[in-house]
Structures are given as structure tokens and as C-alpha cells.
């Protein structure tokens, strides 16, 4: 296989994940305590002498620290936001020091349910505490401490990642100068939670789930995870995008009067589900969907989102996509309204893109031009 360097000149190239061990306990919002933990992260570009050019990129549900570039021994394993981040890309690694981190509770190397609990010698499994966006942000702040980053030039994310970018401005107002919030919501709607609940039920009712302690049984609740992913995937795409991509196309010449795959969309969802169930941990899926459900910065302020941002100091770029029905543009406008109420610097763009929620991951010229322009301003003010 040809190296990515030649195929994609604007790639950060081959990257290596790194691990830091943290021995000071991390207290969760629930009151639970993680005595010690590892965080796996990647960095691209270089930290300047003033240590002022660091940008944290937060992941959403099914991604992790591998944000950009590829692995030398797995050149096809390209970072999940590689179209956004790299030399000369909208978030330019020739200007910024970019950090991607797998959150606590994850399943890609940072301490999570499938990690061994040193106290018991067995995987945490069902005993891993329920983690919140606030907890993740606290862990990320500790990573920043260790990397010598006093304040981030920007924290950026899409979807659940955007919630972390928002939470940073509330939890650490003096440690974030810009918050780039893409395809976000200030909290989940009942419908959003309902979809998450169906996904969780698919996992927890799988006979291979074993109450979350399936590791010892040599099985994983693959069927449940597969279903969860299929449900999730439907919510990431717009009706139009799905129709455009698959329509009612059949796998064969005609319908077969059976319940196996007839339509291309069925085949696609099954493929996505199968693929996902092979690499993702079911307990992590439960944790992350719960973190989504619980995210609600206004809750501590009498449901007044404006009050939640009263202490925020960052500048904001908020971006939504017209066809995103999971976190539709009005959800972003709620955030913008709250920021306006506090007279925060905020720009808001509503990108007319057909792809649904997943648009935040795609290479749309207007969207990328906007992010590029915004980071141009961030760089100018370093």
C-alpha cells in the first residue's frame, strides 16, 4: 500500500498514540471516584514557545483520540476528522498544536469498562462509574496540565464533542479562549433520549451482556451492539440523504418475499452494525449515551441556559446543518441566544447541507471555509 504521505499531501502523516498515567484520583459528578487512570492521546503540530497555540479536539460517540493522520502499520486507519485537521487544512497543524484524547470510559486505550481494575484484577465491567461530560472535561484539563498547556487557544468538537467544547467554557473559563461548537444541542430532547434508550435496551437485553460483565464469559453482546449502531446510524443521516444514497434499490433483481436483506439500506445498516460490533465496547456505548442524556448545563441554573454561560469568557463559533434532525438548527440557536444574552462574542452559521447530523464530519466547502476563517482569527490573536 502506498504511504498516505504521497496520496494525501495535506495529511499530518504517520502518527503514534501516547499514553499518560494519572495517579491522582478523579472524582466523578456522581460521587464515584476513579483512583487512577490512563488517558490515550495523539498530538499533531508543535506547541509554540508561549504554549498558546494548543487546540483540543473532542470526540463524539464512536470516535476517539485518532483524529488525524494514519498509523504506519495500518495506513488505512485514517483519523476521524482528517479532512478538517492537517497541514493547510481548516484547523492547520502548521499553526496549531492539536490534541486528540480518548475520554475516560472509552474503549480505545483510556481507562474504561474493559480495562483491568487494579483493585480486583478483573475488568471494571458493570462497576465502571457513570461518567458525564463534566467528568471528561476535568480529565482533559488534567491532560492539559501534564502537557504544559495553561489555556487552549480553542476547544473544538462536533455533536457530543461540541458539548465538551461548551462545557469547557463553563468548567474552565480561564483555560479556553475559543469554543468551536458544531452540530450541538444544549441538552438532549425526549426524542434524543428515547433513541439512546432503545440502543441501550438492545445491548442490555442481549443474552451475552451478562449484566455488563461479559468479559469473563468470553463473549460480547454483539447483537445488541449491532442493533444499537443501526439505530444510531439512522439518526445520523437525513431522510433525503438516505433516499439519495440508497433509494429503494434492491440487492437483487426483485423482492424475495422473505425477511432477509432485500433493500440496499438494509444491507448497509447490517454492514455498519457488524463492523461496529467488532471494535466497540458495549459498556462504553452505554456510558457515552448516558453522558449525552445527562448533559444539561442549564439544569444547575434553574433551567436557564443563559445563567449557565454567565461565567464563560471564550469566544464562540457555533455551526449547525439544515438537514440535521438529531440536533437541528433551533438547538444551536438556543445556545447562540444564551451566549448573546451574556454578550459573549459569538458567530453562528447554518450550513445548508443535505447529509443530516453526519454533515459535521464531511468535507463541505462552505463549512470548512468558515472554520478555516475562524481559526485564521484565532491564530492572529495568539
Amino acid at each position: 500500500m502506498a504511504p498516505r504521505d504521497t496520496a494525501e499531501p495535506r495529511s499530518v502523516g504517520a502518527v503514534k498514540p501516547q499514553t499518560l498515567h494519572f495517579s491522582e484520583p478523579l472524582k466523578f459528578k456522581s460521587g464515584a471516584v476513579l483512583d487512577q487512570y490512563d488517558l490515550v492521546y495523539e498530538t499533531y503540530g508543535s506547541l509554540n514557545a508561549a504554549k498558546s497555540n494548543a487546540v483540543l479536539v473532542c470526540h463524539a460517540l464512536n470516535a476517539a483520540h485518532h483524529v488525524a493522520g494514519y498509523y504506519a502499520d495500518a495506513p488505512d486507519n485514517v483519523g476521524w476528522w482528517d479532512n478538517m485537521i492537517g497541514p493547510g487544512k481548516p484547523l492547520d497543524t502548521e499553526k496549531f498544536f492539536v490534541v486528540g484524547v480518548n475520554n475516560v470510559g472509552g474503549c480505545f486505550g483510556s481507562t474504561g469498562p474493559k480495562s483491568t481494575n487494579s483493585a480486583t484484577g478483573r475488568p471494571y465491567g458493570s462497576s465502571f462509574p457513570v461518567v458525564t461530560v463534566e467528568d471528561w472535561v476535568n480529565a482533559q484539563a488534567r491532560l492539559a496540565d501534564r502537557l504544559g498547556i495553561e489555556s487552549f487557544a480553542a476547544v473544538m468538537g462536533g455533536s457530543l464533542g461540541a458539548m465538551q467544547a461548551l462545557q469547557w467554557t463553563i468548567s474552565y473559563p480561564d483555560r479556553i479562549r475559543n469554543s468551536v461548537v458544531v452540530a450541538a444541542a444544549p441538552k438532549l430532547s425526549a426524542q434524543n433520549i428515547a433513541f439512546n434508550e432503545v440502543a441501550r435496551q438492545a445491548i442490555t437485553t442481549d443474552p451475552d451482556f451478562h449484566g455488563g460483565d461479559y468479559y469473563g464469559h468470553g463473549v460480547v453482546p454483539r447483537r445488541g451492539l449491532r442493533l444499537a449502531r443501526m439505530i444510531g446510524h439512522i439518526t445520523y443521516l437525513s431522510d433525503d440523504a438516505m433516499m439519495e444514497k440508497f433509494g429503494r434499490a434492491l440487492r437483487s433483481d426483485s423482492i424475495k418475499f422473505h425477511f432477509d436483506v432485500d433493500f440496499e439500506i438494509e444491507s448497509y445498516l447490517r454492514y455498519q452494525g457488524d463492523k461496529f460490533s467488532e471494535y466497540f465496547d458495549a459498556n462504553t456505548y452505554l456510558l457515552i449515551t448516558r453522558a449525552l442524556d445527562y448533559f444539561d448545563p442549564a439544569a444547575a441554573h434553574g433551567d436557564d441556559l443563559s445563567k449557565a454561560f454567565a461565567t464563560a469568557k471564550a469566544r464562540f463559533l457555533v455551526v449547525s446543518f439544515t438537514s440535521d434532525w438529531r440536533f437541528a438548527p433551533p438547538r444551536s440557536r438556543e445556545i447562540v441566544k444564551a451566549l448573546l444574552d451574556n454578550r459573549r462574542d459569538v458567530s453562528y452559521a447554518e450550513i445548508d447541507a443535505p447529509h443530516g447530523h453526519d454533515a459535521f464530519l464531511l468535507d463541505d466547502a462552505r463549512y470548512h471555509a468558515l472554520v478555516r476563517a475562524y481559526f485564521g482569527g484565532v491564530f492572529a490573536s495568539l
Binding site: L340, D345, Y348, A349, E350, R366, A369, A373, G377
Partner: protein, 204 residues
């Protein structure tokens, strides 16, 4: 929308008039803000904290490039997301002639802003009158550079029309400046003025 696309700061003779009326350190909402140069000018000259509203993708991008806060939104959908009296000043600079829901937008401006500044091209200027009356053709001028078939301007009106509108809608005119090619016009303004700038307020 239309106004701010038409060129550099020097060509926008209403900017200085607007800046003179914006109090230092005030909060400003600029409707149809274009590329954001007015807001940038108000920040530089008046230390105003401003936000622009524009629907056009290219304008939103230009504002971000200019380091100006911009909210992508359709003016025609009104200012429903903005609380009453939440801004010191709401500006509509050379855009009123290009909106469809003229009446609603002016009244909404006066709800959201403690006062408002409106500037518009005067369709009553003598040369425009002559183009139509004697030439029999729809007028074209520096302020109104479009042909009838490609103009974004859907509501053309005169200084007299605007003042009559204000009187009929309980709107108080606090100040006005009438300009032609950047120079102030003080006599027979509806005949000699090409650009009108008004500072208005809801009558109490």
C-alpha cells in the same frame, strides 16, 4: 442582503453618520450586516459590542474573516429570538428597500433596540424622478445601481414616504441626515438627497 456588498468604507457615506449616533461602548445589532465592515468600524471608532445578522453564506464567511460577530439568520423571519430592549441600537443600513416585510421589521427593530438607525436610498431625488417621468425608464443611479429585472430592491420609497410611515406607526424621528455623494443636503431634501439616515425611536 444588499447594502454593504456595494463597496469599500469610503463609498458608504452613511457610516460616519451612523457612527456619530452610536454611543461609546453600546451594544449594536446590524441587520443585513453584509461583510461586517460597519460593525468593525463601530468597534474601532465607538468601542461598540456588535452582532450582525445576515442570511447570505458569503457574507457570514466575510464577517468571520473580518473578525465580526455574525448570526446567520433570515431577517424576513423577524427578530423573534431577541428580547425586547436587549440592544442599545439596532441598525438597518441600506437594506430596508430590499426586505419584503418592511413594516414588521421596522417595528421589530424598535422592540429589540432602545433606538434604531435606518438608512436608505431616496427614490424621490430629482434625477430619478426625471428618468421615470421624462425618460420613461426605471431609474438607475449610484445608490440604486440595478436594472428593474435584477434589482434586489423590492420596496422603493422616498424620504417623504418614510416620514409618513413613521408618523403613521407611532415612530419618533430623533435625528436625520440627508446626503448626496457624501455631502450633507439641508434644503429640499426629498429632491436633492440621494441617501437618508434616520435615528428613530418608538413614541412613548
Amino acid at each position: 442582503m444588499t447594502g454593504h456588498e456595494q463597496g469599500a468604507l469610503s463609498e458608504r457615506s452613511d457610516f460616519q453618520a451612523i457612527a456619530a449616533w452610536v454611543k461609546p461602548d453600546s451594544t449594536v445589532l446590524d441587520l443585513g450586516c453584509g461583510d461586517g465592515v460597519l460593525l468593525r468600524y463601530l468597534r474601532q471608532t465607538r468601542n461598540a459590542r456588535g452582532y450582525g445578522i445576515d442570511i447570505d453564506d458569503a457574507n457570514v464567511l466575510a464577517c468571520v474573516k473580518n473578525g465580526v460577530n455574525v448570526i446567520q439568520s433570515d431577517l424576513e423571519r423577524g427578530l423573534a429570538g431577541f428580547d425586547a430592549g436587549s440592544f442599545d441600537c439596532v441598525i438597518l443600513s441600506q437594506t430596508l428597500q430590499a426586505v419584503r416585510r418592511t413594516e414588521e421589521i421596522v417595528l421589530d427593530m424598535l422592540r429589540v433596540g432602545r433606538e434604531a438607525i435606518v438608512s436608505f436610498p431616496n427614490f424621490g431625488r430629482w434625477d430619478l424622478r426625471l428618468q421615470l417621468a421624462l425618460g420613461g425608464r426605471m431609474p438607475v443611479s449610484r445608490e440604486l445601481p440595478y436594472q428593474w429585472y435584477n434589482t434586489p430592491n423590492v420596496h422603493l420609497f422616498t424620504i417623504a414616504d418614510f416620514e409618513s410611515f413613521c408618523a403613521g406607526h407611532g415612530i419618533r424621528v430623533l435625528e436625520r441626515i440627508i446626503l448626496h455623494h457624501g455631502r450633507r443636503v439641508t434644503t429640499l431634501v426629498n429632491i436633492f438627497g440621494s441617501l437618508a439616515v434616520y435615528r428613530i425611536q418608538k413614541s412613548r
